[in-house]
């Protein structure tokens, strides 16, 4: 298969492109040019490298989860510890890269959408560090269930703008961020948080998240002496998964598995399993798989994890699925919660509910495999932000 995607129009196979209002076209061309230039610039690479090492805390560890592996009784499970990054998730790999790009482009105002609040926090963080104005769009529904992250963003000096339109979740936050960008195009940098959106965002975000897979590929060879048999990551928009998968694409013996949110179950309407249940459509500037009704109206989605509660998916994932290079499965709210609890007890690590979906697939898969097998799971974030949600699911009240 061709790994040199996308083409110059931003197509990964038949997915991707640039389906945006005309106002955004010159801005996307400008971004494309600025990124192409930055990529070639040693000083840009060195600067990014410096902040990743000294501010984000990279490389993140690769950790052999002995307790979890013994509990599951089968394959050896390794965790890529993106939860140990500054701000607690993989999101900052991308926000650090893009904020440096925004500075190069002379933009003084940063906007972003956020679901779980992790991308919002990671954006607010880098904006604070570089003294840039920052507005974060967040659905009202997500503001309610991720109140801790809302307060973190405010502490960091960002304006959190509640989005009350549509389903009041991530997709609506992205609509509103795009409207802001259309309106303030001259001054504002839109810092997209996943491998979604119009070209060149899916490429930019992928490239900045690739560090996950590059490190993990090197680390697993050092620690286990070989490549893993399976690489597993959760898929919302798909950035942590793409960052993890991409450096393994040419290692054909490595099975790549993306885990989407099955919510209450794929046989109900309450899920967010875009690749498992959707069909191609256009949302937020790119052609990719999409959960929608017969008329092309975007479907309401559900996941216990706000970061996976998104009806679309990055175009390169649609391409990897149709090309047969990655496979996509789904884990329910319940399976994610079970995996969440297992990791807490067996490893002393509280994972993000998003990452718990990836763990759920490892929990299913590991017992079917031999001790010689290796599963690499991307632990995309830590679960502090989710303890309220989990407590509620367990019937525990944390409020006075």
């Amino acid at each position: 298969m061709t790994m040199t995607v996308p083409d110059e129009r931003g197509y990964f196979g038949r997915f991707g492109g640039r389906f945006v209002p005309e106002t955004l076209m010159p801005a996307l061309e400008e971004l494309d040019a600025a990124y192409a230039q930055a990529k070639q610039d040693d000083r840009f690479r060195e600067e990014l490298q410096y902040y990743l090492a000294h501010y984000v805390g990279r490389p993140s560890p690769l950790y052999f989860a002995r307790g979890l592996s013994e509990f599951l009784g089968g394959a050896r499970v390794y965790l890529k510890r993106e939860d140990l990054n500054h701000t607690g998730a993989h999101k900052i790999n991308n926000t650090m890269g893009q904020v440096l790009l925004a500075r190069r482009m002379g933009k003084r105002r940063i906007i972003a959408e956020t679901g779980a609040g992790q991308h919002g926090v990671a954006t607010a963080t880098v904006a604070a560090m570089f003294g840039l104005e920052c507005a974060i769009y967040m659905g009202e529904e997500d503001i309610r269930r991720q109140s801790l992250n809302v307060f973190r963003m405010r502490l960091l000096g960002a304006q959190v703008v509640p989005v009350t339109s549509g389903s009041k979740t991530l997709k609506d936050a992205m609509n509103e961020a795009m409207r802001d960008w259309v309106t303030n195009i001259a001054t504002t940098y839109y810092l997209v948080g996943s491998v979604a959106g119009p070209h060149p965002y899916p490429v930019i975000v992928r490239d900045f998240q690739r560090v996950i897979g590059e490190e993990a590929r090197r680390q697993i060879q050092e620690q286990a002496g070989r490549l893993p048999d399976y690489v597993i990551a959760c898929v919302g928009g798909g950035s942590n998964a793409m960052g993890m998968f991409h450096p393994f694409l040419d290692d054909e013996e490595v099975v790549l598995i993306g885990v989407e949110a099955a919510g209450h179950g794929l046989d109900t309407p309450l899920h967010a399993a875009t690749l498992s249940c959707g069909r191609p459509g256009v949302l937020h500037g790119s052609l990719s798989y999409l959960l929608q009704d017969d008329d092309g109206q975007v479907a309401p989605v559900h996941s216990i994890s706000a970061g996976l509660d998104y009806p679309g998916v990055g175009p390169e994932h649609s391409h990897l699925m149709e090309a047969g290079r990655a496979r996509y499965v789904a884990a329910t709210d319940r399976e994610a919660l079970d995996a969440f609890k297992i990791l807490c007890r067996t490893e002393g690590i509280i994972p993000a509910l998003e990452s718990a979906h990836a763990l759920a697939e490892a929990v299913r898969l590991a017992p079917q495999l031999s001790r010689e097998s290796i599963i690499l799971v991307n632990l995309s974030g830590r679960g502090d932000k989710d303890v309220h949600t989990v407590a509620k699911e367990m019937g525990v009240s944390l409020d006075e």
């Binding site: 640039r18 389906f19 945006v20 005309e22 106002t23 801005a27 409207r179 259309v182 195009i185 937020h284």
Partner: protein, 274 residues
């Protein structure tokens, strides 16, 4: 020359500027949309834009977002809207433009959408999230069915993009008055003369300006720089306020009449595509 351009040229020949009036189909319901469309044509609208609602209208401000949500909550479908177009066409010869986002068209199938819309009596299409770089399939289908695909130009469109945008356009060129989303605005800061002059230098098609225009005086001021003015959110807001009351159609038509009057006045004559 298709119906839309022909109509606009007739209007200009009379020494007036065109009024392109927008409402969202299915708000409050399709039966009302049909009545409104017919009455608005009689009240002086020269071209009617019918919004086909989409769940995620990123180019629209609060008024049209809310109208789209009301229409979708009421169960409106693309098929239903095409039937409504058929009913309007039986009673009115006003040029009809469907305005929607690409996904409903893509799901319906660009070829089938253009064919069914044309058969029902639609004359043009505006798809704000479909730049020329992506419009190949729909452009072809529209051409095959004698439907005009009307492109948008924005204040920040660089001169080098203008030939690409207008090269295969028909009907008219839609100049967006602001860098922003649809919605009523107090004032318009863009240098409209520069924008419309730029467009005229690359195409002989009529030039319309829209986004943010609500009051008759504002319409008249804008019209000095173009051939037609698009008014949307202001009419949609009236529909929202009067929905369910017997005065709905009268109120919208009164607004249309006032706008058209302002576009007929002496002061607006001047630059025109003629």
């Amino acid at each position: 020359m298709n119906k839309i351009e022909k109509r606009l040229r007739e209007v200009l020949a009379r020494g007036e500027k065109g009024l392109i009036a927008y409402i969202t189909a299915g708000d409050p319901d399709l039966a009302t949309t049909v009545e409104l469309a017919v009455a608005m044509g009689e009240a002086g609208a020269d071209v009617l834009e019918l919004g086909v609602p989409f769940s995620d209208p990123v180019a629209d401000g609060p008024a049209i977002q809310a109208a789209s949500q009301r229409a979708l909550a009421g169960g409106v479908t693309v098929r239903g809207i095409i039937r409504a177009v058929e009913q309007i066409r039986r009673r009115s010869d006003i040029p009809l433009v469907l305005m929607t986002y690409y996904n409903p068209v893509y799901q319906y199938g660009p070829g089938r959408f253009a064919a069914d819309a044309a058969r029902a009596g639609a004359n043009g299409l505006i798809v704000p999230d479909l730049p020329p770089e992506e419009s190949g399939p729909l452009l072809e289908a529209a051409g095959d069915n004698q439907i005009d695909l009307i492109p948008l130009v924005t204040p920040n469109t660089p001169a080098r993009r203008l030939p690409v945008i207008t090269g295969r356009a028909r009907g008219f060129i839609y100049c967006v008055s602001v860098t922003g989303v649809t919605g009523e605005r107090e004032s318009i800061m863009t240098d409209l003369a520069a924008m419309t002059d730029g467009v005229r230098s690359v195409t002989p098609l009529p030039v319309a300006v829209g986004f943010g225009i609500s009051r008759p005086a504002q319409a008249a001021a804008v019209a000095r720089h173009c051939d037609a003015v698009v008014v949307g959110s202001a009419l949609v807001n009236t529909v929202a306020q009067k929905a369910g009351t017997p005065g709905l159609i009268k109120a919208v038509c009164e607004q249309v009449r006032e706008l058209k009057e302002a576009l007929t006045a002496r002061e607006v004559q001047g630059v025109a595509a003629l």
